[in-house]
Symmetry: C2
Subunit: 110 residues, 2 copies
DNA sequence: ATATTGTACAACCAAATGGTTGTAGATCAG
DNA sequence: CTGATCTACAACCATTTGGTTGTACAATAT
């Protein structure tokens, strides 16, 4: 029943992190290059504090890391989190393909 | 700036749908087989209405479809939604790989 | 030394989320 | 017909989410 509680809440956080346009944009940007928190904040029509919170959500989900450099905080992409999400969705995809194959077999028999 | 509003809110809903353990379990199950809403409800330690809401969230996100059969409502997986999520994450993955390749090049030069 | 910049964090607010119970309408079984 | 089952939906509740403003402090620039 309760298969793997830790992994599940980890995935909850991970997909929750992806469930916001601004956060997906941040992930895309810090995957390509380097941004400070205020550098990111300048990109969006919302307060610095709001962007700070988005970054915190991404950090909790292991999708980005922060590293202090002088007075700035540099945000970088964290490949691990993304791979974890991809793995789960790929599992579903595999199941779907297997079912499709079974269906094809059944149709071939009948 | 506002790249593609419709696609973005669609992705918001999609990832939000995945951001819950019960909903991920429902997706997995209806991908494998057929379940009525009450059949699903029997599986979880929550009310029928709660499961009904989870199914509604998945339906809005285009991850499942419902089809009336007699007095039952049969829930089935909808491959489209899953593929959409996979596509986006694969985009990120590609970007990441490209960046990793660039880094390797730079290291080779220097 | 002072002003500016970048960050952190608290307090607050409206809206959404994830759950509940209760009521009511269809459909099926006896 | 009557009762049981399956679904839909409303009302309610506590918590979380996504945003705001304000305060404080560290690091840089003038």
């Amino acid at each position: 029943m309760v298969v793997d509680q830790l992994r599940e809440t980890e995935l909850d956080r991970l997909f929750q992190a992806f469930a916001d346009t601004t956060r997906r944009d941040i992930v895309r940007r810090v995957t390509v290059g380097e941004y400070s928190v205020s550098g990111l904040a300048a990109l969006y029509a919302m307060s610095f504090a709001a962007v700070q919170k988005h970054v915190a959500v991404l950090e909790r989900a292991s999708l980005v890391t922060k590293e202090k450099r002088g007075r700035e905080q540099i945000v970088r992409g964290n490949h691990e989190g993304l791979q974890k999400a991809l793995r789960l969705l790929d599992e579903y995809e595999q199941i779907w393909r297997q079912r499709a194959a079974r269906m094809a077999d059944i149709l071939a028999e009948g």
